[in-house]
């Protein structure tokens, strides 16, 4: 997969893309990080009281975890493709193994584990607390929009485009 890693969209480009173009990400303080040691797409959200789901602000609202899982999975698709294309979430499921405590940054580690010509399969772990415990797991699928699939010149080494 040397060809793919050489074409990979840079983390700087992704961060810029994300920071400048996603108002919701700015609103809740989502930030792109460098990929994790095992190559997964990493993002984080610092805790803020308005992001909580309980009056005493002990836990993140589950939707905040969902937003970051969705965003991190989308970024993982861009990285796997090596370029930016319009994508749409088809479906996503999240399991909450434990409440997400607000005593440290909430971290997302996402990967695209299978890519076809039109569909990307993604999964994401959400970690929190000082020990970075896995609290939620999200699994989903994205559709790669047909508009981008008709541009074989951009990604010629990928034979599936022909």
């Amino acid at each position: 997969m040397t060809a793919r890693s050489q074409m990979e969209i840079s983390i700087e480009d992704l961060s810029r893309l994300f920071a400048q173009h996603v108002p919701h990400g700015q609103d809740i303080g989502m930030q792109m990080d460098a990929p994790s040691a095992d190559g997964r797409t990493r993002m984080h959200i610092p805790p803020q009281p308005f992001l909580s789901g309980d009056a005493s602000a002990n836990f993140f609202f589950p939707g905040v975890l969902f937003s970051m899982a969705d965003a991190a999975c989308g970024m993982a698709v861009f990285r796997a493709l090596g370029r930016y294309v319009p994508i749409a979430t088809i479906d996503m499921r999240i399991d909450h193994l434990a409440p997400a405590t607000m005593d440290a940054d909430l971290v997302a580690l996402a990967e695209c584990y299978r890519m076809t010509q039109s569909i990307a399969f993604v999964r994401c772990e959400l970690l929190c607390g000082p020990q970075l415990k896995v609290v939620s797991i999200a699994v989903g699928t994205f559709m790669l929009q047909s508009r981008s699939a008709k541009k074989p010149d951009i990604n010629r080494q990928d034979t599936r485009q022909q």
Binding site: H21, V22, P23, H24, G25, Q26, D27, P49, F50, L51, S52, G53, D54, A55, S56, A57, N58, F59, F61, P62, G63, V64, F66, S67, M68, A69, D70, A71, P86, A88, T89, I90, D91, M92, R93, I94, D95, H96, A98, P99
Partner: protein, 159 residues
């Protein structure tokens, strides 16, 4: 005294008041401005007024999928809590969403259907739409844990 029986005897106005109180008690739902639609007064339709900060794709533009999910989760949590006799907030165990179309820059609406409310688990279906309630933006299903658990403050104190 099963929760299912409670559901049958609850007055619509009491349910509405409890739903509103639950939404107010969730800081992030309050931040987004999730509310209950005033009409029809005998039903519980949730409403998220559009705001520029909930955009996820400025090119289309479209509301962020995470906000749509959050809105539906808050609706499911509030609808479930409104049926609980005990003062134990329901906890989201899992949530599964199908996106049927992208959500444009207008208000979102949602309605919940309680598929089953048991002693420990509630299964809730949520529909979300924008201008036309027949053209769904997303369809979701949530499972809530509705019995006291170790992460409740009251239960923690007991240990």
């Amino acid at each position: 005294m099963s929760s299912t029986n409670d559901q049958d005897i609850l007055d619509p106005q009491i349910t509405r008041d409890r739903v509103v109180a639950t939404l107010q008690a969730m800081p992030y739902a309050r931040h987004l401005g999730i509310r209950l639609l005033a009409e029809p007064a005998d039903s519980t339709v949730f409403h998220l007024p559009f705001d520029g900060r909930i955009i996820g794709n400025p090119t289309l533009p479209a509301i962020h999928g995470g906000v749509v999910a959050t809105f539906m989760q808050a609706a499911a949590l509030a609808s479930t809590y409104a049926l609980m006799r005990e003062d134990v907030p329901p906890k989201l165990v899992d949530f599964s969403i199908d996106y049927l179309s992208s959500a444009g820059p207008t208000d979102l609406f949602a309605k919940c259907e309680m598929h089953r409310v048991g002693q420990r688990i509630a299964s809730v279906g949520i529909r979300c739409w924008q201008k036309n309630s027949d053209a769904l933006v997303a369809l979701a299903r949530a499972h809530m844990f509705v019995a006291p658990s170790a992460s409740d403050a009251s239960v923690m104190e007991a240990f």
